[in-house]
Symmetry: C2
Subunit: 605 residues, 2 copies
């Protein structure tokens, strides 16, 4: 069940795909060169391999427990979280002025992946805290920042995102939780929130809930939603903790996976807190973030950070499943090889289909990691480049990539973890083996923080149709440049170029089709939205691996780390030959298939 | 959680794809026309909907329990099994002379699907009994038949298949369980068998284990394996039960899915049975089936029946997941439609991507069901046609289809049940919803009774390379005939023809590549084996749906059941536009991708 962080692969991407040398030239990142990346990643690897990873399997068997209004997390979580906070890991990518380390996302994203590979359930708590920090940084008043930010950045307190209600899942227009303005400028919050990750736990002394609610008299729909901070414990003027606020965990869910992560139902304002009885009456005390009715906008800041993070979770769990499958394939002896190369039975990694499965897991994981790395570099440039045009270009590129990182990266994790079970054969189906956990854990990833369809709506509507496919076509042009370099290269490079070319053509057809339909035939455009997302995600991963192949060949020519570079070249070619061609099928589904997807009327099902 | 058997779809396939009118002309099937099929399927639907299906969800929550050497099955299983046996369902496809009903597989397969949709865990017990019956019918002595067959066919006793040992999974050459010949012609069996489905339970008074073991002095490898009957309770001369035999269940597995189905570890011959203490000594008493050292051959009889059955399990669980997803999509209200067709939020079935997901589940399920129906018809002709050439042709066609029914049908069930979770959004991840159970249950199907890779080895080696691709090319010729009919038809038919054409071309390339490599470059051929299986399975399902479209258009022209026929046409076209194009990607993986699949040496992973 052990985990070895793929530090070499992270550093390769950081150096050659994200170009850390360029990032280190940006104001604020002067100390964030390759050496910093090496030092941070090595320390992060050590912590996650030794402290966090060993808790994963047992925590799945003995998940968080709910009793009364409290939640006890799995064995070892509290202590590991203490070490996580003490190590300064929560503050890695947050501003130095709030106590963070201000590192580029390019480096921090690798650390997020390691934490999630080590333990997806554990890692969710810091992931949600990151979202709360982002929202406060962007829209919080000075007072809110002063009260909450430093303690969130240090990991002393944790954060949550409270969006979902029983009737309001993907559709936040349906949020009913209400906020009543009080004379002192605070609000009282009433309502029920569900699916609140780490909505209650015992790892930190306070929990800072960021809650979507409707102020009385606000407009209907998403334009009447406001964002509030609701602390579990009230915070006194000196920063110490006061009374228990009127928000309680009434139950946690029994889930398919990520069982150790408590998913809470939170009840706001039913008057059970002691402080309600001193004449104050019921209601959880909340503090408005930013302005009234702009809650959705702020929430999207958290969501976008979280969506990238969830994409990384997909890569993380695929990596862990891959490592486990490789270990088993090298150990399990079964059957003679088909080429008769050994007299008796061999380890199953000698069987061609086992190799194909392992290569598929590897290529999907490395491809999505490469995309995530390129996206992180764009994010860093979008936030730190002195030239506003460069910032804007990078921001547009990053925003195009986020639904791909999230949507494609999580869908592929379901495939990769399923292959991980398959490599184990019958043993994979036995829970004691551990492969099944990754398969169960991964299944939430294409759902939460916006389902794949929600990501695809974003990609079709805001990221493609809105600008007439300009950014999408810009990506295709970039791909074409890489294609040309590959086409003039080695046999491996040429093979990748050929499949990249076909995939880019398929992408072009899809963009044209989506763009043409988005306004005139929205149903047709959106019937192709998920295939379009999968096509784009697949193409970008294949493109980044094409770039990786070129870099690896250069390194190889310089005599650097031959084994690693050769493996990277093989993986890039495998991706091109086995995964990229899926874009051909997706193209047909998008271009030809909208009619048949919608032809059956709802009541004919 | 309710289940409604898709009786109309079964009957459509039975009438138009399997051509029950032709089957009813065969000797022995004179009474097995469409009316018989209707009557049997309606009664079977009633039984499974009302008796078996309601037990499924609770049984997953409270699975079979092991205590001492006994297993208590989930609440209600014993009574449901009693009704199953009393209803004569076990004997449906078995010979009348053994107490069965002698119905064609064409009809019986639909009943098997219903039982498995109702309750996969429950259905495994009869599925294994079917295998035991087949083995005894083919290779059992008259005495063994007289002792066991009638009681297995009536369901009074159940059967098991004992192949796997800790070191012998896919590789049966590694079987170590030993059989010592006794003076009275019986054998004493010693060893440990694992993963024995219903190896112990409380639903029937006796269990008939069919056990692979090695007689002392037998050749090494698969040529030294023999097959034995080992009853849980000894059977006296008058057919009544005698002493407990020396075989005991020592534990059952904690599994990802099919939790209510007990998966036993069986210990043979450790001398704990009372009868061993009367001077007889340890050893489970076993009776040789057929001849010594021909066990694998007989076991394949059971395996082939079981493989088809497991393919049907895939269709069954996909159907159940589809029905649940449709029900949720019609009920759950969330978000305005993208075309603005309603002012407020609509049920999610109005959202294009939800429709696309439901159509994908539907098309995969109906496509694989159509393949299974065509395969069953071939089986019936192979066993009952008076003309030996027709029998032989049908047998070859059936044998080509079995790995597709099993491999493609089960892989698609993982995809379909995963989509079923996705349609439910966050609720899909909560175990109380029930969608997750299908996803967990389905995951064993591509593994047991031979993994997808084992099916693919069979398809490449025995079914394609051995005859130089003759049968495979014969299938392609049949597809081409359907293509031509479609190309001259309606707009829907033409659309299907176009994608079927491309898929058939891809299949042709794959067959040529596999055939060319199988002997000279076996690693290359087998690296493409699973993609080849998926390509062939996809093509055949698309072809059968093409045939279904033509039949549906004819029925429609005759004014018959317009809603059903229109839905069938839409589903066939959806399959052609969304699923068939996957064959293009698989072709590239097979033709271009063998090198990159194998380029990374085992120790470089």
């Amino acid at each position: 069940m052990s985990y070895t962080a793929p530090v070499k692969d992270f550093l390769f991407n950081i150096e050659h795909l994200a170009r850390i040398d360029e990032i280190a030239k940006l104001p604020g990142f002067e100390d964030a060169g390759l050496e910093t990346a090496q030092a941070v990643l090595q320390e992060c690897a050590r912590f996650n391999e030794q402290v966090v990873a060993p808790l994963n399997f047992e925590a799945d068997k003995a998940p968080s427990r709910h009793s009364g209004t409290s939640v006890t997390t799995s064995q070892g979580f509290k202590e590991a979280y203490r070490q996580y906070a003490e190590g300064g890991w929560q503050g890695l990518q947050h501003p130095a002025e709030e106590g963070g380390q201000g590192l580029p996302k390019t480096i921090a994203a690798a650390c997020v992946e390691m934490l999630n590979s080590a333990n997806l359930s554990f890692a969710l708590c810091p992931l949600l805290t990151d979202g709360a920090i982002e929202a406060l940084l962007t829209a919080g008043s000075d007072q809110l920042k002063a009260t909450y930010l430093e303690k969130l950045v240090s990991g002393q307190w944790t954060g949550t995102m409270n969006l979902t209600e029983p009737q309001a899942g993907s559709d936040l227009a349906a949020v009913r939780t209400r906020a009543e303005p009080q004379a002192d400028g605070t609000y009282k919050i009433f309502g029920t929130k569900i699916f609140i990750t780490y909505g209650e736990h015992d790892m930190a002394e306070n929990i800072v809930h960021l809650v979507l609610a409707r102020v009385q008299g606000a407009p209907e729909g998403v334009k009447g939603i406001s964002l509030f901070v609701v602390p579990k414990f009230m915070v006194k003027g000196d920063g110490s903790l006061g009374e228990r606020n009127d928000v309680y965990c009434v139950s946690i869910e029994h889930k398919l996976g990520i069982k150790a992560s408590p998913t809470a139902v939170l009840q706001y304002g039913d008057g059970t807190a002691a402080m309600c009885k001193n004449g104050a009456g019921p209601g959880a005390v909340g503090y408005l973030v930013g302005e009234e009715n702009r809650g959705l906008e702020y929430m999207f800041i958290m969501m976008n950070a979280a969506r990238y993070g969830v994409g990384v979770q997909g890569i993380a769990v695929a990596e862990r499943a891959y490592q486990k499958a490789v270990a088993y394939a090298k150990e399990r002896v079964q059957s003679r090889p088909v080429d008769g190369s050994t007299k008796g039975a061999a380890t199953i990694i000698h069987h061609p289909d086992v190799r194909r499965m392992l290569m598929t897991m590897r290529a999907l994981t490395e491809g999505c990691r490469a995309t995530a790395s390129a996206a992180a570099a764009a994010y860093d440039a979008a936030h730190h480049d002195p030239d506003p045009r460069v910032r804007q270009q990078n921001q547009a590129f990053y925003e195009f990539l986020v639904p791909l990182v999230k949507g494609y990266g999580t869908e592929m994790s379901v495939e990769a973890t399923s292959l991980g079970v398959q490599v184990h054969g019958g043993m994979g189906f036995i829970e004691e083996t551990g492969a099944a956990q990754y398969y169960r854990d991964a299944r939430i990833l294409p759902i939460y923080e916006g389902t794949t369809a929600i990501q695809a709506n974003d990609l079709v509507g805001r990221k493609t149709a809105r600008d007439g496919g300009r950014v999408a076509k810009g990506v295709a042009e970039q791909v074409e440049l890489t294609e040309k370099r590959l086409a003039g290269g080695s046999a491996d490079a040429k093979a990748v170029a050929r499949h990249l070319h076909a995939a880019r053509r398929a992408f072009g057809d899809a963009v044209d089709c989506i763009d043409a339909n988005a306004k005139a035939h929205p149903n047709a455009a959106y019937a192709g939205s998920v295939p379009y997302l999968m096509l784009a995600g697949n193409l970008v991963a294949g493109w980044q691996l094409g770039r990786a192949l070129l870099a690896a060949e250069e390194q190889l020519a310089q005599g650097k780390d031959a084994a690693f570079m050769q493996a990277k070249i093989v993986t890039a070619r495998f991706y091109a030959e086995h995964i990229l061609p899926r874009t051909l099928a997706l193209r047909d589904a998008i271009v030809d298939g909208a009619g048949s997807a919608l032809a059956l009327a709802p009541d004919a099902f």
